[in-house]
Symmetry: C2
Subunit: 370 residues, 2 copies
């Protein structure tokens, strides 16, 4: 039977899921995880004020949300000290990344990311026919010099960097980022993904400069704000670049409930500060657990710790599998060199207790299974 | 200053909002509406069981939702009597429509819609460089013969029809739809948007045939289920077509809370039947109000009624504006012939009481303002 024809680009793409969800693993395993420490979620949860706001709004969700996200954009803009014309919001940074690729990338255009950088960004690059060019990390950090060289060599319209970094947790200082920005060609758009901005030292965050048309800063409510399951991210930039999101976005994309949750989260900065403290304490705890097992950790400004398992990627993979078998959900980087690590998200004490108990077992099993 | 270059397609697009939200109008007016009857929402609300499920889930939204929407797809498939391989879900039919256009439309390809058909579909056609070809309604219904002629004349890879129809509320019988499907070229994909399927007579819904690769059926939780503000739609079709959504969708697009809400809504078919009854009663009430004002209504299988204001589009526009001035949010079709109507969504008694009170005032004002 003849069938409808996919576009050549879509026909060429694999059906894929950039991240295998813990629910998928649970279904395969036939039992739930005891500790959910793999997706860089915030086990400390959203603020009680946010939970209360969502509960109160539950009866109102027969109404579409505001397609302009007006109140949310105003609140974000006020929080950041910029104009609402410099803010667009979307259902998660993932979605916003796709919109940016669609805005700037013609099929075949080069797009620069670090080797091992955020897979969902790469997914969108492939999805719009971009040509992904990757640059190895240096010392577990994005290599700004090499990224800049690649931009120039490839005449790339788009370059991506997460700062703080995922999956390694490392960060670059603001002055280094600023120098990178100033050295970029004016026609190259820089996506600076600051999903972990709230947990970063202030020294890692360059000042916002919304007069610069070639930088888009991305933030999210998924991490420190504890709202990964509600889908809300935002992008800050020059007004011409921000207005362009209205050309192609799904206007009702951020649910009404999510707008309520994000507004309430932003309003509760006291809770945010408290959680950032808990995250820092949990990072130290994970570092101590690793050290007690003779393992080095990578300094992190995020809500997770990359633990260097001390050998090759195959060994770290076995450690990962050993933890998953023992009902501890963690993930690990896939790219060379980084793949010597497992990545453990922060979480409440009870979950880290389980991790502490089972890491040595997983390490021993990984050691013996060679 | 040189700036990053949008793709030629994106550069050519306007920044727009396909629908101006009632919140935007409220901000402009400086006061809220008293009756929200314009967006085909369900003022009867989601089921109490759904509200309870959302309230219970509020503390869990620090977790990402399942990116495979596994449980939701299983439940939808079981509800429809198909396999989960024949179901994909997304954050609203709006989003799914965009994904379909992206899958099948190369720049310049013809896409067929009715003149005055769903604007957000047209927005996506423009957004991916499709060439929209429209076919006038006939007797306030989609004109299947003319749509088929246009498909063949334009060699169109894609044709869209909402049944029941928005913005007119009319419906076509299943056998007419089925004949249209059978007459379509096998390479033309037919999007059959059944957003209002739950309120339609059974005779309007063709049997599901998931062996046919060139029909995608769309459904939503936004209308009868009362969850417009949560963003959940789904698409049913042949497995090869369904799998293709995994090539380009945002995998975390449906929020965790939304998955909870949609699952609970699907499980409460008793509430759905009750609401469908309330919707039908409210339709009759709107018809009576119109008749009391000497106005004809278009028979509707949806959760709204198109009221023929009996004169031209300019008059109906004045009636619309008169209602909005009087704090009644309604909308109207923009396309020729259809634009003689205003479109009034069903709602609870108190809101329809206000509509009944203020429609005659708006009509009189519209009459006098010539």
């Amino acid at each position: 039977m003849t069938t409808p024809h996919f576009t050549p680009l879509v026909a060429s793409l694999p059906s894929t899921v950039p991240f295998v969800g813990p629910e998928t693993l649970e279904r395969r395993r036939g039992r739930p995880f005891s500790a959910r420490l793999g997706a860089n979620e915030s086990g400390f949860g959203p603020a009680p004020s946010v939970i209360a706001a969502m509960r109160e709004a539950a009866g109102d969700v027969w109404k579409y949300g505001d397609p302009e996200n007006h109140d949310l954009k105003q609140a974000i803009a006020a929080h950041l000290g910029v104009s609402a014309r410099n803010v667009s919001a979307g259902p998660g940074v993932d979605c916003l990344l796709g919109l940016v690729v669609r805005q700037y990338i013609n099929p075949g255009d080069a797009v620069i990311n670090s080797l091992g950088g955020y897979p969902t960004f790469n997914y969108h690059v492939a999805g719009f026919g971009g040509r992904l060019v990757t640059v190895p990390y240096r010392d577990d950090r994005g290599d700004l010099g090499a990224l800049l060289d690649a931009v120039k060599r490839e005449n790339a319209p788009l370059v991506y960097l997460a700062n703080p970094d995922n999956p390694m947790g490392t960060w670059l200082e603001a002055d280094a980022i600023q120098s990178f920005i100033e050295a970029l060609p004016e026609t190259t758009l820089f996506i600076l993904d600051e999903a972990y901005g709230e947990t970063a030292p202030a020294s890692a965050i360059p000042p916002l400069d919304v007069d610069r048309p070639n930088v888009l800063r991305m933030r999210t409510f998924s991490k420190a704000y504890g709202l990964a399951g509600m889908r809300c991210g935002y992008v800050v930039g020059a007004s011409e670049q921000i207005t362009a999101f209205d050309k192609i976005r799904d206007h009702f994309g951020i649910s009404r409930m999510t707008q309520v949750a994000a507004l309430a989260a932003l309003a509760d900065q006291i809770y945010l500060r408290q959680v950032v403290g808990e995250i820092a304490a949990a990072r130290r705890r994970i570092e101590e657990i690793a050290a007690a097992n003779g393992l080095r950790t990578i300094p992190s400004a995020t809500n997770f710790i990359a633990i260097d398992c001390g050998r090759d990627g195959a060994f770290a993979q076995r450690v990962l599998e050993g933890l998953i078998e023992r009902d501890i959900f963690v993930r690990k980087p896939a790219a060379p060199v980084l793949n010597r690590c497992i990545r453990v998200s922060v979480g409440p004490r009870a979950e880290l207790d389980l991790f502490e108990e089972r890491l040595p077992l997983a390490l021993a099993a990984a050691d013996q299974s060679v």
